[in-house]
């Protein structure tokens, strides 16, 4: 083969590679986008009949400004690498979908504490990164917040607390909390 032929082949291979790469890459990102919206999340009744119904009554669904936070806004990271990791972990959800782990309200409630704990742990580890995509405390105008919010925010951030430490149950009903904080439940421990 002459050098010019090698060059030609090389170029052809390269361009096929590039085109393939673009298609695969695009397809990959496309599928990530396709699965990154509320419609997709609530295509499973496990999500639609439980958490979605509850979320619809909260401030992140309807508020005076009309800005909505959807499921992926709080549950799927924005940065690419974190997003890929979350998506891979989400294949676990497919497994449990097939197994019917939470396919009734009763089963969902039974598993809820465990699921919530996963979410809390993730948010704690990321310093509530997804919340802070929208709410940045550097831009919080304390004087326009309520009395309780100002006090707790200034104190809380000084002590290194993060949003989820204080704002559990912001979008969904909470699980049975008698294990986490019995003083805020109906549990009558030690009572007759």
């Amino acid at each position: 083969m002459s050098t010019s032929k090698i060059k030609k082949y090389g170029l052809a291979c390269l361009s096929v590679g590039v085109v393939l790469g673009i298609i695969l890459w695009g397809g990959f990102n496309w599928s990530m986008e396709l699965t990154n919206n509320e419609q997709f999340c609530i295509s499973c009744h496990e999500m639609k009949d439980n958490v979605y119904q509850e979320y619809k009554t909260t401030v992140h669904y309807s508020n005076r400004s009309g800005v909505r936070a959807t499921c992926p806004d709080c549950h799927v990271p924005k940065e690419w690498i974190h997003k890929v990791i979350r998506k891979i972990r989400a294949s676990n959800e497919l497994y449990h979908k097939v197994m019917g782990t939470i396919d009734t309200r009763e089963k969902f409630e039974k598993h809820r504490l465990e699921l919530a704990k996963h979410v809390w742990k993730t948010m704690k580890e990321t310093d509530s990164r997804e919340c802070r995509n929208c709410h940045k405390y550097d831009y919080m105008d304390y004087p326009s917040q309520g009395r309780r919010a100002i006090k707790q925010h200034m104190k809380g951030f000084d002590e290194g607390k993060t949003c989820i430490d204080c704002h559990k149950g912001i979008a969904h009903e909470l699980p049975d909390m008698s294990e986490i904080d019995p003083s805020a439940t109906l549990l009558e421990h030690g009572a007759q």
Binding site: T57, T58, V59, G146, R147, R148, A149, K151, Q152, G169, E173, L174, P175, D176, M177, S178, D181, P182, S183, A184, T185, L186, L187, E188, H189, G190, A191, Q192
Partner: protein
Amino acid sequence: MKMQAMLKMVLLGGALVCTTQVLANHVQSLRGDSDLTEDTMAPEVKYYNKDGLPLDRDYVQQPPLIPHKIDGYRITKKHNKCLSCHSWKNYKRMNATKISQTHFESRDGLVLANVSARRYFCVQCHVPQTNAKPLVENEFQPVEILRH
């Protein structure tokens, strides 16, 4: 005889129509004067007061009023958002008022180790305030000891 009965019926019917007409035109309530057959203006929206300091009580046994917003706070069998600040375990950290000792008593006067079911649903007795004007003048005076 027949004529008389007919006449009576007609008169009665007429009277009935008239009175319902009169009544319909003058349905009067504390919330305003409006014709039953007409659409009325939606009442003005009332706003909850902003977070503030605890409000004064007017009598000794009064359940204190809620001096802040409670929109979106849920009280369910599984969790009570109010108690996440007002329980004896949480009140100090959250700078809140703690619930009264009476809230631990069962119906039979037993003292329980946690809040009693009969006091669990806070908003049965405690309410936040809005900017609504009272519909009638209130001349209630606090008892002597609370007036000063």
